[in-house]
Symmetry: D2
Subunit: 351 residues, 4 copies
């Protein structure tokens, strides 16, 4: 792998920069003969795209996808799917002022150190727009998982310290922050709107729940199911941590509390988060990720330029003051890719 | 990959069960011509082995390693290193009583679901003994990192709710729990000894600090440096979560707080944990992992047998009431493997 | 890998069917900061495209490429290059007559058996048009190899039994069959034109010579340099065999003849074809491939349909009666990809 | 991959040098629950081992294998199999005289150029002894293929210009050169014995036939079934070429001759060698490889030493004057690994 490819038997390769002609994804290993069309994928794209609500960036990247290869007469052929999205709302000149400055919290500095060259237009390859390809691929994986009766849902549980107290699944897609508690969602939205006015941003926590996974999925040792999910999630730019089941709270638990006892009807608790020894146990797979506050803020910050001179910087632009609602479909997409890939790996092992 | 291999340009494959003839590891991609002998590796093995202190299992697996291939006249040849450890303290019959029961918190149930067959002798492949191979490989990576002036150190920061208040690096290897605060270490040891008497176990938190990594290391998008470290850590059986830099605390921070500003001398804070956009920024790489309480406890627990009958189980054996001190060298080993591998990937990119 | 990806540190993924919207390639791992533009790549595309001469298909796929990502201000950025080619001369309806028949020599039957579904429009993914992406990627690799003073040249040495007697490198690109002997080329062209009239096709042999490769390139054991080149070449649809150096003739040689002796100025012969033990020895790397006669011929052939009924088939279309001249740039492209990838692997090992 | 690993879903990693403590192999991805014991594997090891007959080296490496992990109570567990062979007939001092010389035809020079260090004891990692691990892994694959009714057989068809005229499958394992024509075998043996006396060696051709493979196996584009088999075969030290079906003869055939027509009972010819478009078509898979004459000969040859001084060298040792009979089981082993791996890949695709 050279960095832009993910998965083994179901595999995606994303490409494109935020300000080039297009971004997209190649998906390999797709089960042939499955009904799939652009509309099905577009539903997920629309959940990720900017400009959905008052709390997301007003940029108008209408993420209209095209399937360029890999389907025929409305079905997958088993050959690589290429899904393309043209970039339509490009304003590279907007970045002229900052092209020699390292924006705090952004990858400007590290990309320049890695590559010795910097595409300063809107973060280049490090742009969140890269995740559009992931969401498209994830929709393909989700289509395959439907045939296995596996479902994947993610939702905000905390923003800027405001926590959800209830779990109302039906409410998730009805509020702008995709929170599982509609009352908390209102307070979250208010807070975000205030922060936007203040030129600041905030972080949060997103939980993901995967239902219907058969017990026995996951590879031993290095390719544990939770290890792969952790990699998948940490590969999303804004994510700074992950925990499964009881997670960090397990650090303060006793074995007698944490061990999930079994009775005839299955596991009595789910401190393990549905994965033991790296292999699914049939319970819901549950994990939470820490989402950092958006790096782009419009207040003045201290930084340096390429020559090391101290400078101040103010990122005027169109940004999400909190990325949680838009990272939800990306988290789901990555989870779908991992689970479907592991089903295929297991089929290979047992065949 | 089929589960037992890790890494790309520096790669390890572990093998062996806890109660077979031997366990070991193959390490591929090792820089040729580097001085390396068994004694260098043995130092790390001895940090992982059981029976080091009052708080670790009294099992006597003296983990004496042998380099079977890949060195010549005291130097690496560039060909695969095979490192073997014979199993010497095997008592498979000790497991006869539980061979039809699923031990709570253990991978017995999930392995049986995955493979349809169960090697019930001491967890088989899911045994912590598998990590001996990782530590051996990690020692090889550490040897290569010395030539890059990179150092990796991990240490316990919390056990059963007892937290370290100071960071005394010199004290880490001098106390039985490898805590960075010797006063806290005393209380931790006392607690663990009490829990052992009570037939229970506890978890904790281990932090890892990697110093000297040049800025620019890490692959964009899916193979971000933090994503790979997350996978590496979650592939260790007892680890249930990971966070980088400010980690989960970032969820309650503002962008204006979390962004690491720069001045002429570098980053003024390290909320990012040394990695931005998946690429090292030259600051220390810092992450913490959640260690669950040891699953094997001697108090009575509820479970089922292979036919689903409800049963009670009591795991009499020789187990660590807290795995933190022994997981420290495993965490370091995995971190060494990742960092050295990424140096090699970067060399390939720039060549 | 799931079939459409090739390489490790320099990697390509091709996508697209002959009769979809576009075909293309993603190239990962490209050295950053290298000058590269569309014109450089287009030169190679034009060598592969149909309609170059009287002996190639008159189809007018003018293979105009676009670099969609991975360059900035005329230089590579180190992020994935996406190169797209729109399909412009599609006539899927031309295949209506044969959509239930298996064309002899074509992959119709095997694709249907593999996928259970068949995209009958012009061979779908099995179309030679897929190689356009390879040639584009190979041009990128060639650009990187220029900086290493490595050159790759392939040329026809035999067509339909007519063999080249001389090696005139300057003549290769001046004749329509890309033969290294201009006199033989004339006879070859005449023969092909006659076969086209007769509704038949012919095969040939192409040799490839790689100059300037430093000694020491290649991985031991499974990833031998010749093994990887063999895979690269056999992955081209029309290739049915490969031999290195003395090749099949070695089967009738003695050790005393075949061993390449050395004197102070280097190897005195090159029976090994520049590779010993899977590693380059500094001599020219030389291999030959067997090119089968084009499967599409306009004479009547016997076949069956999807129900197993015996049928006769006549492939009316626009096809190359001999693919040798157009496979030459594909062979070079694959060789460029392998050699550049192995340079990068070696850099990783030694770093 | 870093060179010593082969396969994707069924994967092997070999390790060990000819004069170290042991050689061996790790096999990952083995179907669980399959009966397998050491005796089954030993049968194949004994076909590869030296000292079987008058035409093989008299070295006494009795290749007794041990399964160190991955089986339990006579069945595979699905976890990595480690198979070890101790080295018992080591005479490293026998190589003292030549440790500064590059043996013609051997990898001494290229390994030194690659690694900058040379393990001169019996070729180190480049030794043919490395193939013992392959044969062990191949036996595991063969066991799995039995359950699919796939069989793999290889045999000598030509040695030093002496060709087989008949195909008598029952005779193959009854003659010392594993030729398919017992009369030709006698002449071959005579020739080899004479060459051994003369201090010379010879090459030959080995054919491999794989029966029972279902149509539809193979990945499109780069991972074509023939491409992977080609890589597998060229990864064997002595192999310098490969051809499928009509192979190089196809270069002089017309499309009307080479295309395999179909009737109601299947393909009427097998010029394709059982693979079209990289995918099996249900006919026998047939390929031939060119085996070079053994590099080690006892006559005087010209070479240089590490300083470039011209020297003469005489390789006194115990070597095979023709490696064909002992390479037969290695070819079969590699073929078994590829076919079983591709079955597993196909299962993953369709699942």
């Amino acid at each position: 792998m050279a960095g832009s490819t993910f998965g083994e038997r179901l595999k995606m390769t994303t490409f494109g920069e935020s300000h080039g002609e297009a971004v997209g994804v190649i998906v390999e290993g797709v089960t042939p003969g499955v009904e799939l069309d652009e509309a099905y994928i577009q539903v997920q794209m629309d959940r990720r795209r900017p400009g959905q609500s008052s709390v997301t960036t007003p940029r108008k990247e209408y993420d209209k996808i095209r399937i360029v290869s890999g389907t025929f007469e409305g079905r997958t052929t088993g050959t690589p799917l290429c899904i393309l999205l043209n970039n339509t709302d490009m304003r590279p000149s907007a970045y002229d002022d900052i092209k020699t400055l390292y924006r705090p919290g952004h990858a400007d500095f590290t990309y320049e150190k890695k590559y010795g060259i910097r595409d300063y237009r809107g973060s280049g390859r490090a742009s969140g727009r890269e995740t559009a390809g992931r969401v498209a691929a994830g929709a393909v994986a989700r289509r395959l998982l439907e045939n296995r009766s596996v479902s994947v849902v993610a939702y905000t549980t905390e923003i800027d310290g405001i926590k959800c107290d209830t779990f109302d699944e039906a409410a998730i897609e009805s509020n702008a922050v995709r929170a599982c508690d509609p009352a908390a969602a209102e307070r979250m939205i208010e807070r975000i709107e205030q922060l936007a006015k203040d030129g600041d941003s905030c972080g949060g926590i997103v939980e993901c729940r995967i239902r219907g996974v058969a017990p026995g999925l996951g590879e031993p040792v290095f390719d544990k199911l939770d290890a792969e999910l952790a990699k998948a999630m940490l590969s999303i730019g804004a994510i700074k941590g992950i925990e499964f089941g009881a997670g960090f709270a397990a650090a303060a638990m006793r074995g007698s509390q944490h061990n999930d006892a079994m009775d005839a009807s299955g596991f009595k608790t789910n401190n393990a988060g549905g994965i033991i020894g790296g292999i699914s146990n049939g319970a819901d797979i549950v994990f939470r990720v820490a989402v950092k506050p958006t790096s782009s803020i419009s207040s003045v910050q201290q930084t340096v330029d390429g020559e090391g001179n101290e400078r101040s910087i103010q990122t005027i632009g169109r940004h999400d003051p909190c990325i949680c609602p838009r990272v939800v479909p990306v988290i789901e997409a990555m989870a779908c890719m991992v689970i479907e890939d592991y089903y295929k790996r297991q089929a290979a092992l047992l065949d």
